[in-house]
């Protein structure tokens, strides 16, 4: 994930603690984000969303939850003042209704999101492991044994695909070797 990305992740009924933890864990598996601090900001209770995020350092990845509960007025205010959050990395974790309200009431924020809207699908991790491993072998022309050897010797590049490969082989212990 690049710095200062804004994106929306849609959850079926607002992210549960488990779903948030799962998403954060995925981020941690990426070399670009594994060391970046994460803050979960509950956007709604006292409508201080802007003031809370504004002073945060730019390397913080902000998970903004419950934006679907913000009032129309506050969402418009957020849209007008969006430049105050330039440079921040924000993942809006919301419901489908929250996404619709963002699109409708925050057209300028939405323009910055630029189509980066994703649905959280817990079953997406439950892949056909063997099929995935085969596609990795075919693409990189390497066997599982060769990948493990490279990882052991520390010559494996930190491309996300290899991180995934080792994880699928159950050799996450070699990550960072």
């Amino acid at each position: 994930m690049q710095a200062e990305v804004w994106m929306v992740i849609v959850f079926s009924s607002g992210p549960s603690d488990h779903e948030l933890a799962s998403t954060i864990e995925e981020l941690r598996a990426l070399p670009e984000t594994e060391h970046r601090p994460v803050e979960i900001i509950d956007a709604s209770p006292i409508h201080t969303f802007l003031r809370t995020i504004f002073p945060m350092p730019e390397d913080v990845i902000v998970f903004a939850v419950r934006i679907e509960e913000l009032t129309d007025e506050y969402l418009r205010e957020f849209d007008a003042a969006r430049n105050q959050l330039l440079g921040k990395t924000i993942l809006f974790c919301t419901t489908e209704l929250g996404l619709e309200r963002l699109a409708l009431l925050c057209p300028n924020v939405y323009s910055w999101i630029g189509g980066q809207c994703f649905a959280f699908d817990e079953s997406e991790g439950v892949m056909n492991v063997e099929e995935r491993l085969e596609s990795l072998r075919r693409h990189f022309h390497l066997s599982d044994a060769e990948v493990i050897e490279h990882a052991t010797l520390g010559t494996l590049p930190t491309d996300p695909a290899f991180v995934e490969w080792l994880a699928l082989l159950g050799r996450g212990d070699l990550l960072g070797a």
Binding site: E77, A80, L86, P157
Partner: protein, 398 residues
């Protein structure tokens, strides 16, 4: 192999950094990524301001069409004129738009001009004894109410005539500003961004009419980015108060100049061979001529290419990005707006259609860029290219 993959990630990282739809426009200019728009908005305004610094100019346009970038381009151009100083401010960053009132922009003018004077003309600044009073009026201050008001011995009984209310603080601030401006060897132009996000257009026009023309009388010019609602006939008289009025919107991607412009924007930002010409052309086509959409699509296509382990961004990466982008544009569309949109798509192979904003749905379609306007004579309208292929499904749903 290891070095190649490391290089690949570095190349993609740099590409993604450059293809940032949220990037500070000032930074883009600074890094040499600015390409003059064929609409020539900044060139026209800057030329007029060189000749008439104390003039006001209004710019409107679709979200993401590059209005802020044009303001920075104006600043760059006026920076080469010796006796004109252009100062940029995103008003929404320092002023709650819902609380904007008469005098707010005069207060902002004081703050910007005083900051410049203290930086560049220290001898003038050090001799200006009223600065603290002026700054307090602009920013607010804590009042020490140690001495209670004794109150008058007489009660005022209002007459039949109610005189206009005077804003004495504002009048004093105008006086301080006038004195300061008479001492500095430059003329100021304010570049005011962010007012396009103000929804109470009636209040905005009232504030602009007072504040901007008060500043003109003080010799301060301005360029204001206003909301798209000002395009309506109801605001024609208001728009005519400005020296110039510009619609800085989409460039027509069917037009050769626009295609050259949009391609050049991508060429400057692309890294190495990552974005071949065929993919660039595809992005230009999908963008509908909206600058930020072009960059966002290019970024999303980069995402696709990297995730698919492609060495370069292919047309299929671009098409997948366009599909996702179009779907995001349709999020939250009302049934009535969807009906209106699908009715417009019935023009078959004809891309442009006649369109008049006759309802809230029509305005919504324009504000959300589902319908794109190219300001020509007569104006041309077309459906955002990324949305068009999705309309069949929308028609069925509606």
């Amino acid at each position: 192999m290891g070095d190649n993959l490391q290089d690949r990630r570095s190349v993609f990282r740099e590409y993604m950094r450059r293809m940032n739809p949220k990037a500070d426009p000032g930074l883009a200019l600074h890094e040499g990524l600015y390409v003059p728009s064929p609409l020539s908005t900044s060139a026209q305004i800057a030329t007029r301001l060189e000749l008439e610094p104390a003039s006001t100019h209004l710019m409107i346009g679709a979200t993401g069409s590059g209005k802020s970038t044009e303001l920075f381009a104006i600043r760059g151009r006026l920076g080469k004129v010796g006796d004109v100083t252009a100062l940029f401010q995103d008003v929404a960053a320092v002023q709650q738009l819902a609380q904007l009132k008469e005098g707010s922009l005069v207060g902002l003018a004081w703050r910007l001009i005083w900051a410049d004077v203290t930086q560049r003309y220290q001898s003038i600044a050090s001799g200006f004894s009223d600065a603290t009073f002026a700054t307090n009026i602009a920013n607010g201050f804590w009042n020490d109410e140690e001495w209670p008001d004794d109150g008058d011995r007489f009660d005022w009984v209002p007459g039949l005539i109610t005189p206009p209310q005077r804003n004495e603080d504002l009048e004093r601030l105008i006086g301080y500003l006038k004195t300061l401006l008479s001492q500095v060897p430059t003329q100021y132009v304010l570049l005011l961004d962010g007012l396009d996000r103000m929804r109470d257009v009636a209040k905005l026009t009232s504030v602009l009419l007072y504040d901007l023309f008060t500043l003109v009388e003080l010799g301060v010019g301005s360029v204001v980015v206003g909301p798209p609602e000002l395009r309506g006939d109801a605001y024609r008289e208001f728009n005519e108060r400005f020296a110039t009025f510009h619609f800085h919107g989409a460039t027509d991607p069917n037009n050769d100049d626009a295609q050259t412009f949009l391609n050049r924007v991508l060429e400057l930002r692309a890294v190495g061979e990552l974005l071949p010409a065929s993919s660039r052309n595809a992005l230009v086509g999908w963008s509908g001529g909206i600058l930020r959409d072009l960059i966002a699509l290019a970024k999303n296509a980069g995402d696709n290419a990297y995730g698919s382990a492609h060495q370069a961004i292919s047309e299929s990466d671009v098409n997948d990005a366009a599909d996702r982008f179009g779907r995001s544009l349709l999020v939250g569309i009302s049934d009535s707006a969807a009906t209106r949109l699908t009715s417009l798509s019935g023009f078959g192979i004809t891309r442009y259609f006649a369109f008049t904003v006759a309802s809230a749905d029509d305005l919504d379609l324009l504000l959300r860029r589902l319908v794109i306007e190219v300001m020509e004579v007569p104006p041309k309208f077309f459906i955002h290219p990324t949305v068009r292929p999705l309309l069949r499904g929308l028609r069925k749903a509606v």
